[in-house]
Symmetry: C14
Subunit: 89 residues, 14 copies
């Protein structure tokens, strides 16, 4: 197997695995947060605004780890420095 294929395959596999594993925890964490937000609203309807605001800030923090993974995946697919080097003549 030549060097291009090897680096290409590694990039493909790593990109997919990174995105796949990186989506597990944020989805579960957000599920917990949303789930608790709904319970809190049902329990204290008067604080729905404060709860929503805190929820959205929290979701943004949690989502950020998924976005880190997405960024790494995109770098590996479209801005991969090793691939650039290996296909440069």
């Amino acid at each position: 197997m030549d060097a291009q294929s090897a680096i290409g395959i590694a990039s493909i596999v790593t990109a997919g695995i990174t995105m796949a594993i990186g989506s597990i925890a944020p989805a579960i964490g957000e599920g917990n947060a949303v789930s608790q937000a709904l319970r809190s609203i049902a329990q204290q309807p008067d604080e729905a605004n404060t709860i929503s605001r805190t929820l959205f800030v929290g979701l943004a923090m949690i989502e950020s780890t998924a976005i880190y993974c997405f960024v790494v995946t995109m770098i590996l697919l479209f801005a991969n420095p090793f691939w650039s080097w290996v296909i440069s003549p």
Copy 2:
């Protein structure tokens, strides 16, 4: 095995695994969120609107990680930069 086959196989396997693993956590997270929403509605029927709205925003956030995986899968299958390079003459 020639380079095209190798990259093709890697793309096929990675595409499938990414979508498969990427569907685990969102489904479970959404299950928790929906489940809690139903409990909250049963507990506080008067807030059904607020609960539904918060639920849908939350589901969209959670679904987003599944969609990241779906996007990566589609890129690997139909817009794969490494495959384009390797089959270009």
Copy 3:
């Protein structure tokens, strides 16, 4: 092993695994959601309509991740771009 066999085998195995893994989480998530819906109906029979409606929207969201996997499986079996390329003369 020639290229056609290799890509064919990869497609078969990936298609099956994708569908198999992709059916785990939605089934469990839907099980939780349905289970909670039943508990909520028993607890608040007057809200059965609102609960049913929210449940069905939620089930559709959860089922969507199973459908993503089914779509990827069908693409791999019947509209596989790599297979098309490799059996084209």
Copy 4:
């Protein structure tokens, strides 16, 4: 190993594994749903009809993921496009 054997073996193994793994989650999810339905009937006998109806709709949704797996298994055993191609002269 010739190409026919290889593709045949891959189909056999994948068909079995797909059905086996694909039966795990639906059985557990349905178990939870049925279990909760029984608890709800015991708690609110007057709503047995509503509960049964919601249960059956939910079971159908959950069973659908098992059926996706069964369909993929049957396609792999009896309508396998790769096998058709490889045994065609």
Copy 5:
């Protein structure tokens, strides 16, 4: 190893594994359902009939996934299309 042996071994192993894994979840799911049915009967003896009927319908649904696996196992052992092809002269 010749083609017949290879396909035969794959069929044997897959048949066993499919049945073995396919019996895990239904047994656990049915255990939960039966267990809850007994608790419900003890709690609401007057509804024993409704509970029994719902239980049997639920058990049939759960058992169905075990039966899918049994069917696939029997097909692999006694009506295996790949084996038929490979031992046909």
Copy 6:
């Protein structure tokens, strides 16, 4: 390794593994069911008959998945169609 040995070994190993894995879930499921039956009898001694009858029907359903595995094991050991074919002259 000749064909007979290979198929024989596969049959031995698969038979054992099938029975071993196939005994896990029924034993646990029956344990839960029996355990709950005892709790129900202690809680509602007057319904001991109904509880026992439902328990035995449930145990039979759960035991059925263990019996499927036992049947497959016996077929693999004593009525194995692949072994019959391979030792026939």
Copy 7:
């Protein structure tokens, strides 16, 4: 490695593993059942007879899966049809 050794090793290893794995679930299931029986007796001493009888029937059912495994182990060690065939001249 000649055929006798190979089949002998497979029989030894499978026999041990079958018995070992096959003893996990029955022991745990019986532990739960006995544990619950003791709790029930402490809670409802007047029903000790009914509880004991139900417990022993349940233990027999659970033990049956361990006995299936023991039977398969003994068959593999002392009545192994493949070993008989391979050492017959």
Copy 8:
């Protein structure tokens, strides 16, 4: 590696693993049963005799699965039919 060594090694390793795995579940199951017995005695001291008797019958049943494993281990070490065959001249 000659046949004697191979069968000897397989027997040694299997004997150890069988005993090791076979001791996991009985110890945990007995731990649960004893633990519950102590709780029941503390709760209902007047029934200490009935509880002890039921406990000892239960422990005997649970211990039986450990003894099956011990028997198989001893057979593999000291009455191994395959070893007898292979070292017989």
Copy 9:
């Protein structure tokens, strides 16, 4: 495989895996923290400010471990000392 390819592949794979694994725990930890914050606000609305402030400090601490991983990933992709050495003439 030459040295450049080997180091390149190792960097790609490690970068992806580091980011993927490194996103699991922070997302779950933040999910717990946010979830508890919402519960606390619903329970003690008057302390919403103190709770928010403590939450944000905590989220920053938790996020820091994700950022360590992101930093290592970026170093591996764009400032890798081993890659610099190996491609230097």
Copy 10:
């Protein structure tokens, strides 16, 4: 590798693993039993004698599985029939 080394290595590794795995469950089971005994004494100090006696009988039963493993380990190290055979001239 000659036969003596192979059998020696297998004995060493198996002895260690058997003892290591065999110490897991008894320690945990005894931990549960002791822990519950302490709780029972605190709850019903007057029954401390009955509780202690039942505890020691139970600990002896649980310890027995660890002792089975220790016995097998010692047999493998110091009374190994396969080692005796292989080093006998």
Copy 11:
């Protein structure tokens, strides 16, 4: 593969894995601590100062294990004694 490449690859992979695994537990532990701190503040607002101070000391202790891992990662990447030795002429 020459010695430099081998040591370089080992350093890259180990650095990434160390940081990735090393970020799991601190994030979860801090999540628990922060989560409990929020609950305590909601429960006892008057002690917010004591709780915050104890929380920050605790977070520092927990963070220290992540920092140990980060230090080891940095040593492996930028102050690796084995790499220094191997690239020294």
Copy 12:
């Protein structure tokens, strides 16, 4: 690799693994026992003596499994019969 090295390596690795795995369960079991003892003392200070005595007997029983592992480790390192045989001229 000569026989001495092979047996030496096996002894080293097994000694370490045995001690490492063998320390898991006792530590956790003792943690539970100590933890429960503290709870019992807080709940029933007058029985501190009985509780301490029972705790120490229990800890000794649990520690015994760790000591079995330590003994096996020491035998493997310093009184290894296989090593003695292999280095004897």
Copy 13:
């Protein structure tokens, strides 16, 4: 691969893994301890001093296992007796 590289690689990998695994349990254990300390302070503010002192002693004990791992890691990196021997002329 020459001896220096092999020992160097083993040291690098082991150092990283030791630190990584060794940071898991202390972080979680400290998280539990801190978390409980906060709960206790909120519940019994008057004992904050005793609680803090006990907490810090406990944290030091728990941290000690992380420090053992750190010490071993540092020894492997900077005071490795095997490396010293192998690079000594």
Copy 14:
């Protein structure tokens, strides 16, 4: 690979793994014990002395398993009998 390198590598890897795995359970067990001690002090401040004394005895017992592992690690690194033998001329 010569004998010295092989034994050296085995010692390095085993030393690290032993310490790493051996630190998991003590840290968690001590975490539980400390955590419970804090809860007990908050609940029964008058018994703080008895609780502390029992806690420290318990921590010493739990720490002992970590120390066994540390001792084995140090023996493997600095007093390894197999290494002494292999480097002795």
